[in-house]
């Protein structure tokens, strides 16, 4: 019985010990001049915007309120993108699968469509679900999209016709990562492998970057 109680106590302490070890590692890495995260740090940081768009369930989604305090990856793109956007989403999905349940539960991934004409809410939902059913898809009016882009200090997406019909959309291609302090200090460029996200997410959860 005493052993059980002791074991239980130790088990309860494990997350605390793990967090402590993580912070100790952060301090050692800082002292050694090593990067804490493999993403690129940006300054000034982007404050988490308090803006509302429409989620794929058709309901308003207040980005600031719904993701407050959470590690949040957010990127802009379109479902007809064959290259950068699906690779981002696949690598993020691959990374999330490698987290502990507690880490996974603390992370939100948001995709904002820059092609609201073709990206209906069902199309957006189906596309995102092919990567991870928990990914949040947001669609808005031109004004809502412009406000979101301005909040991230990125140029507006633009439509460009392709030969033979159809069009592509030029858009910001980095992934912004918010930490629990409700600021995005870190961005991830296209082609960031899942392993790098796996390396960074525990640190982002600790607010280390």
């Amino acid at each position: 019985m005493r052993l059980f109680v002791r074991s239980g106590g130790l088990l309860a302490l494990l997350p605390v010990l793990a967090a402590g070890c993580g912070r100790l590692r952060d301090t050692v890495d800082r002292l050694r001049g090593q990067p804490l995260v493999l993403g690129a740090t940006i300054s000034p940081a982007v404050p988490r915007p308090d803006l509302t768009m429409t989620a794929t369930d058709g309901r308003p989604y207040d980005f600031g309120q719904r993701t407050k305090g959470r590690v949040t990856f957010i990127t802009f793109g379109y479902t007809h993108c064959p290259d950068v956007c699906p690779v981002h989403m696949a690598n993020l999905a691959g990374a999330l699968k490698q987290l502990t349940p507690a880490q996974r539960a603390a992370v939100t991934v948001v995709f904002v469509t820059t092609d609201p004409v073709r990206d209906s809410l069902p199309q957006l939902r189906q596309w995102l679900a092919s990567f991870d059913t928990t990914f949040v898809g947001l669609r808005g009016t031109d004004e809502q999209l412009a406000a979101m882009e301005q909040a991230f200090h990125i140029p507006p997406a633009s439509r460009e016709d392709l030969p033979g019909g159809g069009y592509g959309v030029s858009h910001s291609a980095q992934v912004f990562a918010f930490t629990p302090d409700d600021s995005a200090h870190v961005i991830y460029l296209p082609g960031m492998p899942a392993a790098d996200y796996v390396h960074d997410i525990p640190r982002l959860l600790r607010g280390a970057f």
């Binding site: 479902t79 007809h80 993108c81 064959p82 290259d83 950068v84 699906p86 690779v87 989403m89 696949a90 690598n91 999905a93 691959g94 199309q123 189906q126 596309w127 092919s130 990567f131 990125i154 140029p155 460009e160 392709l162 030969p163 033979g164 159809g166 592509g168 030029s170 858009h171 910001s172 291609a173 980095q174 296209p190 082609g191 492998p193 899942a194 392993a195």
Partner: protein, 156 residues
């Protein structure tokens, strides 16, 4: 089995259509050493990545790509604009210098594939024909993969 049928079909096409059939790992002429066709999500266009190599002493130019299992295909290049923006532009002629390789990869060169047969599944092979200005039509194969495979196959 599906691959064997495909190869037989390609051989027949070569015999009757006049194009040369080149296996994926061919050497001695312009062709590709790696070919990955990424199955699209939710009916979106697919992406095809090739490592086109030119072991000959003469430069060549890729001018068109077509797939037996798709409506159309275009070579595109994704370019970083320097302000965080990515811009996709069509490539109507892709030079492949002598003894050089053009490596298609996410965030760079890719073939945008429209109307891909949705029956193609991960692990299948898809027949691809690239038209070169000098070598003419070269037909080979691309492995069908998913976006989850891109990280390990094309980003490392």
């Amino acid at each position: 089995m599906k691959r064997r049928i495909g190869i037989a079909l390609a051989a027949a096409a070569a015999a009757f259509g006049g194009c040369r059939v080149v296996p994926v790992d061919q050497t001695g002429t312009v062709g590709w050493t790696r070919g990955y066709l990424v199955k699209p999500a939710a009916g979106s266009p697919a992406a095809l990545y090739l490592w086109i190599t030119n072991p000959t002493a003469h430069g060549d130019t890729a001018t068109a790509v077509r797939l037996a299992a798709a409506d159309s295909a275009q070579i595109h290049r994704t370019m970083a604009m320097g302000n965080g923006m990515e811009h996709m532009t069509p490539v109507v002629a892709l030079p492949i210098p002598a003894h050089d390789t053009a490596r298609f990869a996410p965030g760079g060169l890719h073939v945008m594939v429209f109307g891909l047969d949705s029956a193609l599944a991960r692990g299948d092979s898809a027949q691809v024909t690239v038209t070169f200005a000098r070598a003419g039509d070269v037909t080979g194969w691309a492995h069908v993969i998913t976006y989850a495979d891109v990280d390990s196959l094309l980003l490392r």
